[in-house]
């Protein structure tokens, strides 16, 4: 039964217009970024011939970007024969984990670095299915605190200031 459903899904996928296929979308993204970066190389400063050792600073990255574009086109052409096998649809928990990263950036930047690690650990563990309070506390407070103190004392690391870090340092 599952096999029949899989075959049906694959058949549906093959019948999609080319611009909906993963190989096309990924290739277009790579080529677009490469063109954007190629455009960025135009703004690199150039050196006068007397200081120019071999090639200009922009030449090497330009060559690389052209190579990436060329190889991406080959990859796309090859995909016309064999469409990429991409795993199932991404689950909701993946997007929640990704959202946690964004939250981490904001909390670390605005409030506190340690707090950001704690919140991310707590939320990731919770969204991944951990509901026991004791384990959530262990993961979000005890373990990050051990790591934090270890890095601070053994490696002499100074973490960026924040509401909790300042209390610790003072």
């Amino acid at each position: 039964m599952n096999n029949v459903l899989d075959k049906k899904k694959r058949a549906d996928k093959n019948s999609l217009p080319f611009f909906f296929k993963e190989s096309f979308i990924v290739s277009i993204i790579i080529v677009s970024i490469s063109f954007f970066l190629l455009f960025a190389t135009l703004s690199f400063d150039t050196v006068p011939p007397i200081l120019n050792r071999g090639i200009q600073p922009a030449t090497f990255p330009k060559g690389l970007l052209i190579l990436i574009i060329f190889l991406t086109i080959i990859v796309y052409i090859l995909s016309l024969k064999n469409e990429w096998k991409v795993e199932k649809k991404l689950p909701k928990v993946f997007y929640l984990t990704l959202l946690n990263f964004i939250l981490f950036i904001f909390v670390a930047k605005i409030l506190d670095f340690f707090l950001a690690i704690s919140i991310l650990s707590l939320l990731v563990s919770y969204f991944w299915g951990e509901k026991r309070i004791i384990y959530l506390l262990l993961i979000s407070i005890v373990f990050p605190a051990i790591v934090f103190i270890f890095f601070e004392t053994i490696l002499g690391l100074r973490f960026p200031p924040g509401i909790i870090t300042n209390i610790y340092y003072n």
Binding site: F60, P61, L120, V124, V147
Partner: protein
């Protein structure tokens, strides 16, 4: 004789033995945990090595490499999930044999063949690395450029992914290395006005992002996966019958693994796949393969551990990483102020032979740990992902921050984590990015210096015999996947 005494020197240092002990133990734990492994673990441990002297730091990393490569077999045999990519071929026969109630026998064979392969490869390393280093004295900038190109083209044949996708990933890695001030003219490239990018992008944020963070995201998609673990009573040493059946396979795979390891960029994964298929080809019972063949386990495990010593040959002699983990070790050498290459062999033989000796010891130690402790290590797989990965995240963030004490490094790590996840999802390996990043400066630097020597005439590259040989090898490396596909 003098070299042998240098090799056994770590045995007489309590500190080095302690480092070796913990490195082996930690490597085994990393190898057992699916998704981690010696590369990610090495990258995570790298900041901690700053508290150690260079020899202790590299011994720690190399022992993690040796033990981590073996550790993957425990998970492969007991839960049919390779702890490391290099143990993928071990699953093919290890798990079916364990299902037949012979998990102890399967693990015993994996332990013996891994240790044998590892020890064989250290012997290769001891003899071959100095020879290669001597040859490297003849190398000028054009030769190093051609060698780096050869190393990069070898990326085409790593793993079972698309060769063209691997090359794109490699080129992407080199592109990352161009971010920051151009080292010859100090002109900013791809910094987009961000001052922190002027110094370039560090290796650690990229490697932790591409391996640890992208794996965290991958694990978030696998939460519904249930591992069926096979109970293990005790590890059994192989019987005389098993030895008779496998000694040739172990020897052959050790040779294959060491050779594959020496090739730039190729590592244990390719070695184990070739070791396994050759074991099948030469076996008297090829039909047993895939159903629990003891030769299959021996072939894969001897080869992937033999690749560890092999991969250290170009890393130490030429500064070209032989695998993803040796790229981490190479970074460890560089941040500790040790420049790999022929001069290292002449100026610091005690350092080099200390590493060789430590690798030999690590292989013996993981044999002992594996034999007596596999049952305990297998229990580590019971740590649920919902607890394990948040802990790895905390370690990743603090470790990445610690090297430069820069918050930008953490953003870079997260960025590459997301990039790495999507790369893997769409069939692009992340290993070539790491190799490309580490070779990027060498490729560009030697190219530009060669062009100065040649007065801008590119064709003169082909007038240098060693450079020409490397270009021919690069061409063969590029053609090989095409030929394999046609077959």
């Amino acid at each position: 004789m003098e070299n042998i005494s240098l090799m056994i020197a770590p045995l007489f240092s309590a500190k080095l033995m302690l480092v070796l002990f913990f490195g082996t133990l930690f490597g085994l734990i990393l190898g057992v945990l699916p998704g981690l492994g010696p590369t990610t673990g090495g990258a995570l441990i790298l900041p901690f090595t700053m508290t150690l002297d260079p020899l202790s730091a590299i011994i720690l990393l190399t022992s993690i490499y040796c033990a981590g490569t073996y550790g993957g077999a425990i998970t492969a045999i007991l839960i049919n999930t390779p702890g490391t990519p290099a143990a993928a071929a071990t699953c093919l026969d290890g798990y079916p044999l364990a299902q037949k109630g012979e998990a102890g026998r399967a693990l015993g064979m994996a332990t013996v063949s891994s240790a044998a392969g590892g020890i064989f490869s250290v012997v290769v390393l001891v003899f071959f690395a100095p020879l290669l280093a001597q040859l490297a004295y003849e190398f000028g900038q054009p030769e190093y450029f051609a060698l780096a190109i050869f190393g990069l083209t070898m990326l085409a044949s790593i793993g079972d992914g698309s060769p063209v996708k691997n090359l794109i990933a490699g080129a992407f890695g080199i592109l990352i290395s161009t971010i920051g001030k151009d080292f010859m003219t100090s002109i900013d490239r791809f910094t987009f006005g961000v001052n922190e990018l002027s110094e370039g992008i560090g290796f650690i944020p990229v490697v932790v992002g591409l391996f640890a963070i992208s794996e965290l995201l991958t694990q978030s998609t696998l939460l519904d996966q249930i591992y069926k673990r096979i109970a293990l009573k005790a590890v059994k040493l192989p019987s005389l019958e098993d030895y008779k059946l496998t000694w040739k396979t172990i020897l052959r795979s050790s040779g294959i693994g060491s050779f594959i390891g020496v090739l730039p960029a190729e590592g244990g994964t390719v070695a184990s796949l070739i070791g396994y298929s050759e074991a099948k080809r030469w076996s008297k019972n090829p039909k047993e393969f895939g159903k629990g063949s003891i030769e299959g386990i021996a072939g894969a495990e001897a080869a992937n551990n033999a690749a560890t010593g092999g991969a250290m040959v170009p890393t130490l002699a030429l500064g070209i990483p032989g695998s993803a983990t040796t790229a981490v070790i190479l970074t460890g050498l560089i941040i500790h102020g040790v420049r790999p290459g022929p001069d290292l062999f002449r100026e610091q033989p005690e350092f080099l032979y200390g590493i060789f000796g430590a690798m030999l010891m690590a292989n013996i130690l993981f044999f002992i740990f594996g034999f007596f402790g596999a049952k305990i290590f297998a229990r580590i797989t019971l740590i649920p992902n919902k607890l394990l990965w948040p802990m790895i995240f905390a370690l990743s963030v603090c470790g990445t921050y610690s090297l430069n004490q820069s918050i930008i490094d953490i953003w870079i790590m997260l960025f590459f984590g997301v990039v790495g996840f999507f790369m893997r999802r769409y069939g692009f390996s992340v290993v070539p990015v790491i190799i490309g990043l580490i070779l990027g400066e060498l490729v560009e630097g030697t190219l530009r210096q060669s062009l100065v020597i040649f007065d801008g005439n590119w064709l003169l590259f082909f007038t240098r015999p060693i450079a020409l040989t490397f270009f021919i090898l690069a061409f063969i490396a590029l053609s090989f996947p095409l030929l394999r596909r046609k077959k």
